[in-house]
């Protein structure tokens, strides 16, 4: 309960916790997966697991883009950076993600021209400012960042910038949710749906989880009050024997999402038949590649990319943590060999990764 003092509405939180405890069935357990890494961070930061009854467990989902990117793709991006005259532009989150031969930051220290950018448009500007170089943008993220990459591709084409490309690693959120409900070892009772991804895709794409699998989905905000209310909405559905998609984050998320963002993605990107996820393996139609019309800006067309599949170090159990089979401290490396200062696995890198959040906030 150590963070309760910091809640903006401690009385409301207590009231919600009381109501959750009242309707929770003590004879069963509840495994609720929060899909989004931002939610994972918030749940740890607010210590929400401590406020809930012991039979309600948050299972941390795959919604942290750097965490789900397999080592092979990190290596592929770094291989592009080895080409003469290439500047590789990465988001800050990528800089410390380990590849087989070091992180982007370490490779930069060894001479590769790797720069941190805030926006894909900064990478495009870098290309315009360095006409003698080629700038490759290492694109990662779910549907929150994919529209930005899409608009940047449209801009690159409109401005005819020929020394710019995108190494596209964008993923979509719904297929891994299906993979998780399909996996026999995953016993998830309900989902807390991502907040900001849903501002782009809306809430309708989650309908199949309720309709086909009979599991509730509640799209949630990031405040402690939001998350507690979402848990209560999940429990109310389960108590009533219902399964539907509800939108707790209505003040930010519309049912239909952002049509202009979806149009930009549709114009420039297409679903890949397969994409490898760390921990979840290959998931069909779960990632976006660049359409042939934009091949001139597709780094995987413009450069030789090794495309080697790299298995995670056997000792690091990132995959099992990502799937919610193991809790972060149950990994043999957690907190000893693998720490936020020296991450072995990607889940220890980003503040949205379950291991980094557990390390920082959970009581030892």
């Amino acid at each position: 309960m150590k963070y309760v003092d910091e809640y903006r509405d401690p009385k409301l939180i207590a009231a919600l916790a009381h109501e959750i405890a009242r309707i929770a069935d003590p004879a069963r357990t509840y495994r609720i997966m929060e899909v989004c890494g931002g939610h994972t961070h918030a749940i740890y930061r607010y210590g929400l697991a401590d406020v809930l009854p012991g039979n309600i467990e948050f299972v941390h989902g795959p919604g942290c883009p750097v965490c789900v990117l397999p080592t092979g793709r990190v290596d592929d991006g770094l291989a592009i950076a080895e080409n003469a005259g290439v500047i590789l532009a990465c988001f800050g989150d990528m800089m410390r993600v380990p590849g087989t031969k070091g992180t982007p930051l370490e490779r930069k220290a060894r001479g590769a021209d790797i720069r941190m950018v805030y926006s894909p448009l900064d990478a495009l500007r870098l290309a315009k400012e360095n006409p003698q170089k080629h700038v490759c943008f290492f694109a990662i993220g779910f549907e929150t960042t994919a529209p930005s990459t899409a608009l940047t591709l449209l801009q690159a084409k409109a401005d005819n910038v020929r020394n710019f490309s995108v190494f596209c690693n964008h993923v979509v959120v719904v297929p891994p949710m299906r993979a998780i409900v399909d996996a026999p070892e995953m016993q998830i009772d309900a989902f807390i749906g991502p907040g900001h991804v849903s501002t782009v895709i809306g809430v309708k794409p989650y309908a199949f989880i309720a309709e086909e699998y009979g599991k509730p989905v509640v799209v949630s905000g990031f405040e402690p009050l939001d998350l507690m209310e979402s848990v209560l909405m999940v429990l109310r559905q389960l108590a009533a024997g219902e399964a539907k998609v509800e939108n707790q984050y209505r003040r930010f998320v519309s049912d239909d999402g952002n049509a202009a963002a979806l149009r930009a993605m549709e114009a420039t990107m297409q679903l890949r038949p397969h994409f490898e996820w760390r921990g979840l393996g290959s998931i069909p139609y779960s990632a976006l590649g660049i359409k042939p019309e934009y091949a001139a800006w597709d780094a995987e067309v413009q450069f030789e990319v090794p495309g080697v599949r790299v298995t995670d170090p056997r000792s690091a159990q990132c995959g099992d943590v990502l799937k919610g089979v193991l809790r972060p401290p149950q990994c043999a490396l957690f907190g000893s060999v693998c720490t936020p200062e020296h991450p072995v696995g990607a889940l220890m890198v980003s503040s949205e990764g379950a291991c980094a959040a557990h390390y920082k906030y959970a009581p030892a």
Partner: protein
């Protein structure tokens, strides 16, 4: 990267509605507002930014709420650093 940053639209330097100068905690930078073209975006409006792109229009109260969330999560400073664009952002109108 995934958490949205609230920003206030200051002006439209190009005269069109695709690029705006926006302000976050006193820091100004150009942002792309093309995705909100269909709505009537005006100076003084608040938006949620994702990696330099405005993704949705929000109220001032929602902007305050979002900034508080970033502060509670200890990410407000990083958000402002991001908006500074790691030195690449063009802040002049």
């Amino acid at each position: 990267m995934c958490l949205a940053i609230p920003a206030q639209i200051v002006e439209f330097p190009n005269g069109d509605r695709t690029v705006a100068v926006a302000e976050v905690a006193g820091v100004r930078r150009r942002v792309n507002v093309d995705l909100l073209r269909d709505g009537e975006l005006a100076s003084g409006d608040w938006v949620l930014l994702h990696v330099g792109f405005a993704m949705s229009r929000i109220s001032e109260e929602q902007a305050r709420e979002q900034m508080e969330i970033l502060q509670m999560l200890g990410e407000a400073e990083q958000a402002v650093d991001e908006v500074r664009g790691y030195g690449l952002a063009e802040t002049r109108p």
